[in-house]
């Protein structure tokens, strides 16, 4: 560190020992807290909200399945009965359509 052409003083060791007197504290790098949190997340240490915990997700999923199953079995038999007559004729009658209704097989009405 020192220039060889410049002789060191005899009290060099003591001067060196005193060189850190009045030293200022070094500042931590910016975003250390963010780094700490990232390090904790990486090692799986951060607290996870109960909303995203697997147990809660599975419970919600199971509840949804049960509700759907219940709805399916409950309302299956109560579905509206098929109206009498052929589909096309029923449609024509329902909307008072006049004229010919053609089907694939026969002409049914003039």
């Amino acid at each position: 560190m020192q220039n060889n052409h410049q002789p060191l003083e005899k009290d060099f060791p003591d001067k060196v020992l005193r060189s850190v007197d009045g030293i200022q504290r070094a500042e931590a790098p910016a975003f250390l807290y963010t780094r700490v949190m990232a390090g904790m997340a990486k090692s799986g240490m951060t607290r996870v909200s109960w909303l995203v915990k697997p147990a809660f997700s599975f419970a919600v999923l199971a509840l949804l399945l049960l509700v759907n199953l219940f709805a399916f079995t409950k309302f299956q038999d109560k579905s509206e009965p098929e109206p009498a007559g052929s589909g096309m004729q029923y449609f024509a009658d329902e909307y008072a359509l006049t004229g010919t209704v053609y089907t694939a097989k026969t002409k049914t009405h003039e």
Partner: protein, 188 residues
Amino acid sequence: MNEQEFIAALQKGDDQAFKTLVHTWQDMVFNTVLSIVQDTGEAADIAQEVFIQVYRSVQAFRGDSKLSTWLYRIAVTRAIDAERKRKTRKRLAAVRSWVGLDEKQDNPPYFHHPGVQLDNKEKAAVLFRAMKRLPDMQRAAFVLIKTEGLSYEETAAVLQTSLKAVEALVHRAKDNLRKQLANYYRNT
């Protein structure tokens, strides 16, 4: 909020309290670690590990000492552990270069602590290099007193030893440093 309430909040897992802890003590932890390991990048990594360890073990903190004393203790222990690993790697590298497996390692560059006054910069760099050769406990005591400005009593609390032991550690550290610096003086 006094210290006991603050510790209680930390133990309850209060995120805001933990954020306050990091922001309040980050410079203290970083400076302590940096003065021991003398590498900015490594010091940042170790400071990060210190706070993660604090988060993990705050439940076990009983308040027997001040929170700052406990933080200093974790920081010093982590930094010294890192230094031991570095020395082991260095010895291994020396052996590998000796048997011809690796190229010979150069001396690391001088470390310049950012808090040193400009006119003391070169002398302080020589001192920090000499500090690297001190035994762990002498180095820890010297760093806490010289770069963190702790009292002998506070240093004794951090190092969990007696006041007389700290006085002896610092005395021996200064003796060892003087010898090294005298050699440096003779060889320059």
